[in-house]
């Protein structure tokens, strides 16, 4: 596939292919006109002049056919015109045939599409993310970005998936190209080096392609954050070696979540709530119990889960066809789908089962058999293919581990709010009681639907009105700031979770009387409308003045003058 080198010269390509038919057409017209001027006319009328001959041939060759103009033709002239008609038909047929062949040409299509894509990307004048790979994860990310109002550019190898993108119906147009994202040239067409590119997300299901994207991004656009999916530890290590900022391994990530869920259910639920995809609702899970676990399938995911569980010092029995190496775990040979292997692994005494093979059917079969033997079992299911969604929904496992969703969650958390990571770290460091309090407070106020999580920086660009007032020495507390700019008595439906101060100081869950300082970065969570309202108070002088003083400032020069005069008169009157 090398449409890219050629894409500059589509116009010239078309012209060059049309050279022969155009010359044929010109020659035929010239010969016809010349012949008609030479043919003798009826007595008294003489020969046709060039003007009349050109006029006649023009309407005859284009099959308009007005008849014999200006005077009736002689038989010699008619004979020549007959030849001309057939000649011109041949000329037009040849030309049109070439044009249609050209339009149907696959290379030309590819070149036109590439050029259109490159133009669409060049015309983007707002921040966009470059998403490589439009599979299940890519789709989730694109629709989440779309809901967040951020633009995306997609590069996908499979033509059919690119076609699907048009059918999806995003609110904003998503430029997409069917090409190999591992090719650096493709990436630069897709806007990798554009000043508006906000980040690269490599989600292809091929680790080596993701690696190629990571190194391209690192070299061509070193300042851009790159989020790369890596399913094998070798690829992850390779990516880390040249400083890829965010490497996402879905299996590792899920085991981390699992470990968190075992250690601290409240922290896990908070995390799930804060990073849930826009528009979804977090479901309540029961918390994973401590005790004897059974692991079916000792693959990549199985290994990650095994190390997590043994770190939590829980006994694990592994069911696999091969022994799990030298690890100190009990091993039962089998594939977990049959009752014998499960019984041999003491399924009746176990508290939990992890079905972690790479086959969805095997996982479901093992889970169904195990639930039959022990109905209270906590089941963790690995779902490999999104298309099996209905089956997994019907089974109602305690945890569904869907790699595409995990990657999407992680990407969104990293992209939308970089402050979320330090907040989550801080949260993990606190005690369980505090976390339960926090969870109750937040979900009690905002419900279990996915919240809007965003950050605001108090600087001249993002919050000009507030910044000016703060620099003038005014004191503004969070309690005053987080109110509705329409009705001061009402609080906005949002909470400040975390404040990052300039001097590497930070505050977690600041109280209402905390004063805002210039340069602060705030992490907020709440409903969507609170974000717009707060943005208004931060940027708009009038709205902020109303929040702080309760007085509606007059807008416009005339009203400001009048208001000032009234104020001066009032002041003058006072001493008298």
């Amino acid at each position: 596939m090398t449409p890219l080198q050629r894409h500059h010269g589509i116009f010239f390509l078309v012209l060059r292919r049309l050279r022969a038919p155009l010359i044929v057409l010109i020659t035929i017209l010239a010969v016809s006109v010349l012949g008609l001027t030479l043919a003798p006319g009826l007595d008294g009328a003489g020969r046709l002049s060039f003007f009349h001959a050109f006029y006649f041939i023009s309407y005859t060759a284009t099959t308009i056919g007005f008849g014999e103009i200006p005077v009736e033709f002689s038989n010699q002239q008619r004979m020549w015109v007959t030849i001309c008609i057939y000649l011109s038909v041949i000329g037009w047929a040849y030309t049109l045939g070439t044009v249609f062949t050209l339009l149907a040409d696959r290379n030309l299509h590819l070149a036109i599409r590439t050029q259109r894509f490159a133009r669409a990307v060049r015309r983007l004048r707002e921040p966009f993310y470059l998403v490589c790979g439009y599979g299940e994860t890519g789709r989730l990310i694109c629709s989440a970005l779309d809901r967040m109002g951020v633009r995306a550019v997609v590069v996908e190898l499979d033509d059919a998936k690119v076609g699907e993108l048009d059918l999806h119906g995003y609110t904003a147009d998503v430029p997409a190209l069917a090409a190999d994202a591992g090719n650096p040239e493709t990436l630069s067409f897709a806007g990798l080096t554009s000043p508006h590119c906000a980040g690269v997300i490599a989600l292809t299901d091929d680790d080596s392609a993701n690696l190629a994207i990571a190194i391209t991004a690192r070299l061509l656009a070193p300042r851009l954050p790159a989020l790369c999916r890596a399913e094998s530890p070798e690829t992850a290590a390779n990516m880390a070696s040249f400083g890829t900022r965010h490497i996402i391994n879905p299996f590792e990530k899920f085991s981390e979540y699992m470990a968190l869920a075992v250690q601290s259910p409240a922290a896990w639920q908070l995390l799930a709530w804060l990073t849930s995809l826009p528009g979804s609702t977090v479901e309540h899970h029961r918390d994973p119990p401590r005790g004897h676990w059974i692991l079916c399938g000792h693959g990549r995911f199985g290994k990650a889960m095994l190390s997590t569980l043994s770190r939590e010092s829980m006994p694990v029995t592994v069911i696999d066809r091969q022994p799990p190496g030298d690890a100190p775990h009990r091993w039962v040979q089998g594939d977990g789908t049959g009752a014998e292997a499960l019984l041999a692994a003491d399924v009746r005494q176990a508290v939990g089962l992890i079905a972690a093979t790479s086959s969805d059917v095997d996982n479901l079969s093992a889970a169904v058999t195990a639930r039959g033997l022990n109905p209270g079992l906590f089941v963790v299911l690995r779902q490999n293919h999104y298309s099996n969604h209905a089956l997994f929904d019907a089974f109602d496992a305690d945890f569904n581990m869907v790699p595409s969703e995990i990657i999407a969650h992680e990407c969104l958390a990293v992209l939308s709010t970089p402050l979320l990571a330090p907040f989550l770290r801080e949260m993990k460091a606190r005690d369980e009681e505090w976390r339960v309090w926090l969870l109750k407070r937040l979900t009690g106020r905002f419900g279990w639907e996915a919240p809007t999580v965003w950050s605001e920086r108090i600087n001249i660009a993002r919050a000009p009105a507030l910044h000016r007032r703060l620099m003038a020495g005014e004191e503004v507390g969070l309690d005053t700031l987080l109110r509705s700019p329409q009705k001061r008595a009402e609080y906005l439906p949002c909470e400040v979770l975390y404040i990052q101060r300039d001097d590497s100081d930070h505050l977690v869950m600041p109280l209402g009387d905390t004063l805002v300082r210039p340069g602060d970065e705030l992490l907020l969570a709440g409903r969507r409308r609170a974000r717009g309202a707060l943005g208004l108070s931060l940027a708009n002088e009038q709205a902020l003045a109303y929040l702080l003083s309760g007085v509606d400032l007059p807008g416009g020069w005339i009203w400001e003058r009048l208001a000032r005069r009234k104020q001066i008169r009032k002041e003058r009157r006072l001493p008298g």
């Binding site: 010269g9 012209l15 060059r16 049309l18 010109i26 001027t37 060039f50």
Partner: protein, 127 residues
């Protein structure tokens, strides 16, 4: 020797020579300027233009533009002739002939530039 180059050079030089043939003579004497020669000059000039399509080099671009200038001038000359011979009540007066010939003179200059470029290109290749 390259057949394509022969045809290319042939049409460019032929366009210039036909144009010159039409141009020479007293500027306002219809007897010195044959309309068939003008017709031939236009057709050959158009073909030369199409031959220059699709060349992406700098020299190719200049070739194409000079050729387009020549076409424009010659077609304008043909239109003036058509107006004089068939529309204007006075017919083909010496004044009108002078207009036609001076327009073709402009085209001759453009064709001359084309030929110069062709020669320069040939010399640059040194083969």
């Amino acid at each position: 020797m390259n057949l394509e180059k022969v045809i290319f050079g042939f049409f460019i030089v032929l366009a210039a020579t036909l144009n010159f043939g039409f141009f020479t003579g007293d500027i306002d004497n219809p007897a010195h300027h044959d309309v068939y020669e003008l017709f031939a000059a236009i057709v050959v000039s158009l073909i030369a233009t199409v031959l220059k399509f699709g060349d992406r080099t700098q020299i190719g671009a200049v070739h194409l533009s000079t050729s387009l200038v020549a076409d424009l001038q010659l077609i304008a000359a043909a239109m003036v002739w058509g107006y004089a011979a068939h529309v204007s009540p006075a017919g083909l007066t010496p004044e009108m002939v002078a207009r036609v010939v001076s327009l073709s003179g402009g085209a001759l200059l453009a064709n001359g530039v084309s030929v110069v470029i062709l020669i320069a290109e040939t010399i640059m290749q040194r083969r």
